[in-house]
């Protein structure tokens, strides 16, 4: 159950980061409707954000492993 709560908290963090970053990118001037272009931009932006998250994650973890080896 702890694991589940943590997973929920992390998913919440991801959603809120995507929202922050993609809102600014796709809806710089909020109008009176959520128009199809904005919607499609948000969909793509969400996927690109997760791509970026994966690249950052891989880069960070491999760097940390390299540093750890250097310490030993």
């Amino acid at each position: 159950q702890i694991r589940q709560e943590l997973a929920v908290a992390q998913a919440g963090e991801l959603i809120s980061k995507i929202n922050e970053n993609c809102f600014d990118k796709c809806i710089p001037e909020p109008g009176s409707t959520f128009d199809p272009n904005e919607k499609s931009c948000v969909s793509k932006c969400m996927e690109r954000y997760m791509d970026a998250w994966n690249i950052v994650s891989r880069t960070y973890i491999s760097r940390m492993q390299r540093e750890q080896k250097n310490l030993n």
């Binding site: 998913a11 959603i15 001037e29 909020p30 109008g31 009176s32 959520f34 948000v42 969400m46």
Partner: protein, 70 residues
């Protein structure tokens, strides 16, 4: 029981207020120009649109993530 319900409802109020604080500080710089004696119509409209679109964006992301998982 009474106390735990009271705490829960207070916590919900706090979460609600935090969400409103967050939206206000996200939408304020987008919508407010020079500081005047009251908000003008276009600033009010902009704040409303900003909250609605931010939530649209949020709901859209949550739904997309859910449908990806299935």
């Amino acid at each position: 029981l009474e106390l735990s319900k009271f705490i829960e409802s207070e916590q919900q109020k706090v979460k609600l207020q935090q969400a409103i604080h967050q939206f206000t500080s996200t939408c304020w710089p987008k919508c407010i120009g020079n500081i005047g004696n009251k908000l003008d119509k276009s600033e009010e409209q902009c704040l409303q649109n900003c909250v609605e679109r931010f939530l649209d964006c949020n709901f859209h992301i949550i739904k997309s993530l859910e449908s990806t998982r299935k």
